[in-house]
């Protein structure tokens, strides 16, 4: 797929008046997460990486968003949401059960661990999870559809879209303090916003990004 905002990199604004010191520090830390698991055991970690690849597929050529590592770190710090659907156990326990159960489902269906499945089989099992069709005893009564919506999608997608690389893909302006924005109307873009490539005008969009400062 062609980039809709060719050449746009929100990080180019890091040194500008669109970023303040506290935001620079916060994003710096986000760009340097641990790359290995520090919380999950090896099998759960491999399963999680495979799940993340299916839920938020990333092009191998692109700079990678380390979604699984960021989620593992969240599990390590046990950072809660402020609520829990009563059908779910607490954060860490839910993930431990869910990942183990997914692996058991994979073995029961395909006779191999989840992480070793090809992408279509991984996808298939996640679709069945989304529909609540996975009921292996390893779920310990945890409804797989609730786990899918309240943990898998919610946690993984929130992490993915907390990353500047994801903002580049969708043309989000990113941090905006203290400068903020001036042009508010339809089809008006501040010079420090992402330029969208209209069909046939990709070069103009690419030139536009040079004014992102």
């Amino acid at each position: 797929m062609k980039a809709r905002y060719p050449g746009y990199n929100v990080l180019d604004k890091r040194g500008t008046v669109s970023w303040d010191d506290v935001t620079r520090e916060v994003i710096k830390q986000r760009m340097a997460p641990p790359s290995e698991s520090r919380f999950l055991d090896p099998l759960a970690w491999q399963t999680l990486q495979a799940v993340c690849e299916s839920v938020m597929p990333q092009s191998p050529e692109a700079a990678q968003i380390p979604v699984a590592a960021m989620l593992d770190e969240r599990l390590r710090t046990n950072a809660g949401d402020g609520y829990r659907d009563m059908r779910l156990p607490p954060l860490r326990q839910a993930w431990r059960i869910g990942l183990a159960a997914l692996n058991e489902e994979s073995i029961a269906t395909f006779r191999q661990p989840y992480y070793s499945l090809a992408a279509p089989q991984r996808h298939l099992l996640l679709e069945r999870m989304q529909r609540g069709e996975l009921v292996h005893p390893a779920w310990h009564g945890l409804p797989s559809d609730i786990f899918f919506s309240n943990r898998v999608l919610k946690d993984i997608c929130a992490i993915y879209y907390s990353h500047p690389y994801a903002w580049n893909q969708i043309g989000f302006g990113g941090p905006a303090n203290p400068r903020g924005y001036v042009r508010m109307y339809f089809d008006r873009r501040d010079p420090w916003e992402a330029a969208e490539a209209k069909p046939g005008h990709e070069v103009r969009a690419r030139r536009g990004k040079h004014r992102v400062r």
């Binding site: 597929p57 929130a158 993915y160 907390s162 969708i170 989000f172 339809f186």
Partner: protein, 529 residues
């Protein structure tokens, strides 16, 4: 800041510093009372400590565990929670609306819910006071309801998402307006005008937002109140005379006790009933102030459903406050409805994580989600703040599970009723027509979001059917007060913060009046007729 000793019998110990507690702390101290206000959250310095970042700013939310069940289990912890000096006003969307006058007597005049023990004309007076105190930026003329004074600051410029609301409303022949907002459109003291950075619901890093943190709290401190941050109140103590004597709290790992002549609970509609339930004694086995049995019941959210679509034009809804335009048409129109209550709807500006969450709830993930996210700068939508009816089955109770302090956490049980569902259906249909008329394509419905929490300690005229009286005073314990969204008997179709603040201003005036005639320490006996 003035500081009080633990054995100093302060006039008022207030639990919570948001729209209710912060406002009350300010006015009570200005009226000469000795006040300590407690908050479990931190006292943030926005200019130094607020990042322009959705995920980092979760530090403003109440992220301690609660359990949610019912037919429509609530999602908590973001838009309906706050843990900071200033409470959830630190990250609210600043929408500052008055109730429709009839809502204060919705049972008598409109046939549903419960009447408030307050008169709308008195509330109109206090609404004006809040609007002045927060220097609300709003339109020259407000299209609905009785005459109101001009807003102190000029309205904000509309963004493209707001213009879509305007186009749809014009096409369907209903009124709309720019939204009255608690963020300044021109300089005010230490607040610069809003720069339209769009991270409002993650906390304002410029202090343009007129939250309790930058309005009531500094005034309270200047007037001699103490604000005690990072202090989690765990129990209200009751003496042998059935009066509260102070409160237990945990700060810096230490269990401490503050004596107080009065305690005000202002912890919002979950923590307020939780604290009162946790404070049960042998004399008050069902929790403090619960002789009616209604403490924790009649929890009311507001429905927060939306209709979304994409436009050929770039919208870039991330710019500016999220809800710059509004229509209250269906709050003020009673014909053509198959439901009780009303709703407003507003333009929207979700940032990427919130937007991805909405698409997740639509069932999208994988490549389908990535593809849909490509339309981020072209997506546009309308979202309601819808009235839900009070139901006793919707309630806050104590769960078996314990928090880090060993105290039972809150269990929040919630189900929409048929009337709520009819209101939502009506709103989704109407907003879908509005988007279509505005030229929006690929329209879809987000059917399962909620916002705001109210009503677990309702006010009323009758001790049998309410927890507090119109002065926010417990019917059972005369020196116990509740002053936050918990006291709402009905919730209306507008964001509650302006009403909570107006009630707090009124409560402060009532406390001063009661003190003046010697009725603050004991409730006068009702004459038998």
């Amino acid at each position: 800041m003035r500081e009080f000793e633990h054995d100093d019998d302060v006039d008022f110990a207030i639990v919570g510093t948001g729209a209710g507690g912060g406002t009350l702390a300010c006015r009570l101290s200005e009226l000469g009372f000795r006040v300590v206000a407690f908050d479990a959250g931190a006292w943030w310095r926005p200019l130094e400590e607020f990042a322009s970042d959705e995920s980092h700013q979760k530090k403003l939310f109440w992220t301690d565990e609660r359990l949610c069940d019912g037919e429509t289990p609530l999602v908590l912890g973001t838009n309906n929670s706050g843990k900071a000096i200033g409470g959830s006003t630190v990250h609210f969307a600043m929408v500052s609306l008055r109730f429709r006058p009839e809502w204060f007597k919705s049972r008598s005049l409109l046939g549903y819910g419960a009447d408030w023990p307050l008169d709308w004309r008195e509330m109109w007076h206090y609404y004006t006071q809040v609007e002045q105190a927060l220097k609300i930026s709003g339109p020259l003329k407000y299209p609905w309801g009785p005459k109101r004074p001009r807003y102190p600051y000029r309205e904000h410029e509309l963004n493209a998402a707001a213009w879509v609301l305007a186009r749809g409303a014009e096409a369907l022949g209903i009124d709309w307006t720019s939204t009255p907002l608690a963020t300044v459109s021109a300089p005010r003291g230490h607040s610069p005008p809003c720069v339209y950075r769009g991270f409002c619901v993650s906390g304002c890093a410029t202090n343009a937002k007129q939250s309790a943190l930058v309005t009531w709290i500094p005034r309270a401190v200047a007037a001699g109140a103490e604000i005690r941050d990072l202090a989690m109140v765990t129990r209200i103590a009751v003496g042998n005379n059935d009066r509260v004597t102070g409160l237990e709290y945990i700060r810096e790992g230490q269990r401490q006790f503050q004596r107080a002549r009065h305690v005000v609970v202002a912890g919002y509609a979950i923590e307020t009933p939780r604290l009162l339930l946790l404070s049960a004694t042998s004399r008050f086995p069902d929790g403090l102030g619960n002789s009616s049995g209604l403490l924790g019941k009649n929890l009311m959210v507001q429905s927060n459903q939306a209709v979304w679509g994409v436009m050929p034009e770039e919208i870039r809804a991330y710019k500016g406050p999220p809800s710059l335009a509004i229509t209250e048409h269906w709050n003020y129109t009673d014909i053509g409805k198959d439901f009780f209550g009303g709703y407003s709807y507003m333009s929207q500006g979700p940032l990427p994580i919130v937007w991805a969450g909405a698409l997740n709830r639509r069932g999208l993930w994988g490549q389908a989600l990535l593809d849909e996210m490509q339309h981020y700068n072209h997506q546009v939508g309308l979202k309601i703040v819808g009235e839900t009816l009070p139901q006793e089955r919707n309630r806050v109770t104590l769960a078996d599970e314990k928090d880090a302090n060993g105290l039972p956490i809150a269990r929040v049980t919630y189900s929409f009723c048929d009337n709520d569902k009819r209101l939502i259906r009506h709103a989704l249909d109407f907003m879908g027509r509005a988007l279509d008329a505005a030229g929006v394509g690929d329209i879809w419905e987000e059917t399962n979001d909620t916002c705001h929490l109210n009503g677990t300690a309702r006010m009323g005229d009758d001790p049998r059917c309410s927890v507090v009286d119109g002065d926010c005073r417990s019917w059972d314990i005369p020196n116990l007060w509740i002053c936050d969204g918990s006291v709402f008997p009905t919730v209306g179709g507008v964001n509650p913060s302006l009403t909570i603040q107006a009630i707090a201003l009124r409560t402060a005036d009532r406390i001063a009046a009661l003190a003046g005639r010697g009725e603050l320490d004991r409730r006068p006996q009702k004459k038998m007729s």
